[in-house]
């Protein structure tokens, strides 16, 4: 990287949202609005298209009814099922914003599920179990943060370590008190996962609360600016007086916490600790959600709302494959094609080539 581009990245990172150089306030607002419109337009169109196809295929797709005192319907179902992935993706968005990645979220979920079942079998109060589960997520985040921030290991590999061993740790915890897939019941945890407050499922409310808290933390405190500047250029941020190490720790802890929350929801949903299959491939879905939402793996940007949109697109796709009557085996292939199309649309090189005929950039 040349010195010139370093400076560019740094200044861009320190002004994360407005790219306008010298503009009056109205002009800047207008520019912002245009930028936001541009950023959100493709994912929103994709979601609208998926839902429109669903509406055309199955009439009554958009119906929302009230059954047994709670909301029912395909749209609610998409929100309901997307929530664990969306929350994991929010944590992932923060980590990716610092130019990192966290492959271990699925394993964290497995460990959290195992710890919950274990502590409930040991007779702990269920509120304590919940705290312990979230603490485990924070602990995993600390471990990943230590590897990335202190030992300076490449994030993809640093988190691979916990990804490889985490499910094993979950199995070991299960074996502590005998049993391969022990089950548990907990009114508190199951209430958080499959219960509902008023008409709305609890997990949607809690997911929205986590989104709100994270949004306040990132957009209304300096933390968001620091996270993005570390992602834009870690060395420059360090020179500017930001403790890059501490900021990276914070990112992985946030991600671990989010994964732990998803772990609580998923484990309580299935009533079991099943470390081998719980949350399988959720790290890939979460990363996809971030990327579909326009987040770049090269860091420097955190788009929370767009990330949730990405998670909703992924779930809407899955739901529509199921409701359309296509065999569920088509799910992965359709997902792959949507991912490729969304990514190709975002590629400047391809757009240029398509618009100018196939000239391509000579390299």
């Amino acid at each position: 990287m040349t010195p010139g581009s370093n400076v560019e990245t740094k200044t861009a990172a320190l002004r994360p949202r407005a790219n306008t150089e010298t503009a009056t306030l109205p002009q800047r607002l207008h520019g912002l609005r245009a930028l936001a419109g541009h950023r959100a337009i493709w994912p929103l169109l994709a979601l609208a298209l998926i839902l429109a196809v669903d509406g055309a295929i199955s009439p009554g797709f958009f119906n929302v009814r009230i059954v047994e005192g709670r909301l029912f319907g395909n749209l609610i179902d998409i929100l309901y099922r997307a929530m664990p992935t969306a929350v994991v993706a929010l944590g992932m968005a923060v980590v990716i914003g610092t130019k990192g990645i966290d492959l271990s979220v699925g394993s964290v979920i497995a460990i959290v599920g195992a710890v919950i079942t274990w502590r409930i079998h040991s007779g702990d109060p269920h509120l304590v179990v919940l705290m312990a589960a979230l603490a485990v997520g924070v602990l995993c985040g600390l471990w990943n943060g230590f590897l990335v921030a202190v030992l300076d290991i490449q994030p993809i590999i640093a988190t691979l370590i916990l990804m490889v061993s985490g499910r094993g740790i979950g199995l070991m915890i299960n074996l502590l008190y005998g049993g391969t897939n022990p089950s548990f019941t907990s009114p508190l945890l199951q209430g958080l996962s499959v219960g509902h407050i008023g008409l709305v499922p609890t997990r949607i409310i809690l997911g929205a609360a986590i989104f709100g808290a994270l949004w306040l933390l990132i957009r209304r405190t300096a933390l968001g600016l620091f996270l993005e500047s570390v992602g834009g250029n870690s060395a420059a941020a360090d020179l500017a007086g930001i403790n890059a190490r501490l900021i990276k720790y914070a990112a992985y802890i946030i991600c671990g916490f989010c994964a732990a929350w998803a772990g609580v929801v998923l484990a309580a949903d299935t009533h079991t600790s099943d470390p081998v299959s719980i949350g399988l491939y959720i790290e890939l879905d979460a990363i996809l959600a971030v990327v579909i939402g326009g987040g770049s793996l090269s860091g420097g940007r955190i788009y929370l709302g767009m990330t949730v949109l990405g998670a909703l697109i992924i779930q809407a796709l899955t739901t529509s494959i199921l409701t359309s009557g296509l065999p569920p085996e088509y799910n992965l292939v359709v997902k792959a094609f949507v991912v490729i199309v969304v990514l190709l649309l975002q590629s400047a090189n391809l757009r240029a080539a398509l618009s100018k005929g196939f000239t391509g950039r000579k390299r």
């Binding site: 030992l151 993809i156 590999i157 996809l288 292939v333 490729i340 590629s347």
Partner: protein
């Protein structure tokens, strides 16, 4: 001796230490029989890992390996009842692997999308295609498969080198030649060492990137062919998670994940270390699969920390 051999030597030392530990713990462990078994059982994943070594040496990553192994097996098993000879269907799948890898490389380079995401889409696509073809395990009944399984070279000491291990060793020799004795190999190290410098020095970036991923696809398809022949079946879930095993083998083999540093030969020992751990845990009998995962993670951690300290003390970056 050059410093670039240090990670490789460390890998071989760990392998030998583990093997001797096994010999001290269990009778009959220290034999060519056990060694041959480890080679035969892990041949397919080591072959795939050899291909991954090129990708990682260039600073990229390939997540589509495991799905490729599954997909190749499923297609071969479905071509079998149509009268295809396994060698013919295998060759067709090798060509497919080459083309699929090249396509991934082209998208990565032309569209400037991260390899992680492109090959992740590849993972979904291939695994999903497996499910679309069939959901059950399909046997390959051609007599060639039995003949392939029966072929082996006896080793001194009662062991033997299975045909899958022979294919793996041939593939390894070819990879060593490509990596260390061709201009293409030097270009891979150059790109991994420093992309910008490599481009400025006149390394053909697009052609090399496409070729690297094509090579990765070819080797993972070869791994899939060997797996299908070894298990004489095609199973749509085969190879799940093998991309991680392959990446772990490469890292344990001393290749640095930021690219530019490492040797193809190390991957053989990296894969053998993982196989050896599984064998040791099986020999014990009272330990279970959880230990395999945890010890894999611990080893990965130790090796990465070791690489970090080696890198900082010997400035290995960019030594090809």
């Amino acid at each position: 001796m050059s410093e670039k051999y240090l990670p490789l030597l460390a890998t071989i030392a760990v392998f030998s230490a583990l093997f001797i530990t096994g010999g001290l713990l269990y009778n009959n462990f220290l034999s060519t029989l056990v060694l041959g078994d480890i080679l035969a059982d892990n041949a397919f994943v080591i072959i795939a890992a050899i291909g991954t070594t090129f990708v990682i040496l260039s600073g990229g990553i390939d997540l589509s390996i495991g799905s490729m192994i599954g997909f190749v097996g499923v297609v071969m098993a479905n071509l079998d009842p149509l009268g295809w000879h396994p060698l013919a269907s295998g060759a067709a799948m090798l060509a497919f692997g080459l083309g699929f890898g090249a396509l991934q490389g082209l998208i990565i380079d032309f569209c400037e999308i991260q390899p992680f995401i492109v090959t992740l889409a590849g993972l979904f696509l291939l695994r999903g295609s497996c499910f679309m073809i069939n959901l059950d395990s399909v046997p390959i009944q051609h007599p060639f498969v039995a003949a392939f399984a029966a072929t082996s070279i006896p080793l001194p000491g009662g062991g033997f080198l299975a045909s899958s291990a022979i294919v793996m060793l041939v593939a390894l020799v070819a990879a060593i030649v490509i990596a260390h004795f061709t201009r293409f190999g030097a270009n891979i190290y150059a790109i991994g060492g420093d992309r910008v410098s490599a481009a400025l020095m006149g390394v053909p970036m697009r052609r090399t990137t496409v070729a690297i991923y094509a090579l990765g696809g070819f080797y993972s398809a070869l791994g899939g062919v060997i797996y299908a022949l070894y298990t004489s079946s095609g199973y749509p879930l085969a190879g799940t998670g093998n991309e991680l095993t392959a990446i772990a083998s490469v890292v344990l083999g001393g290749t640095v994940l930021t690219g530019g540093v490492g040797m193809v030969a190390g991957t053989l020992f990296g894969g053998m270390i993982l196989g050896l751990i599984a064998t040791l845990i099986n020999f014990n009998g009272s330990l279970n699969g959880a230990w395999i995962m945890i010890s894999g993670g611990v080893l990965l951690f130790l090796f990465i920390v070791m690489q970090r300290s080696l890198l900082s003390s010997f400035r290995l970056r960019g030594v090809a």
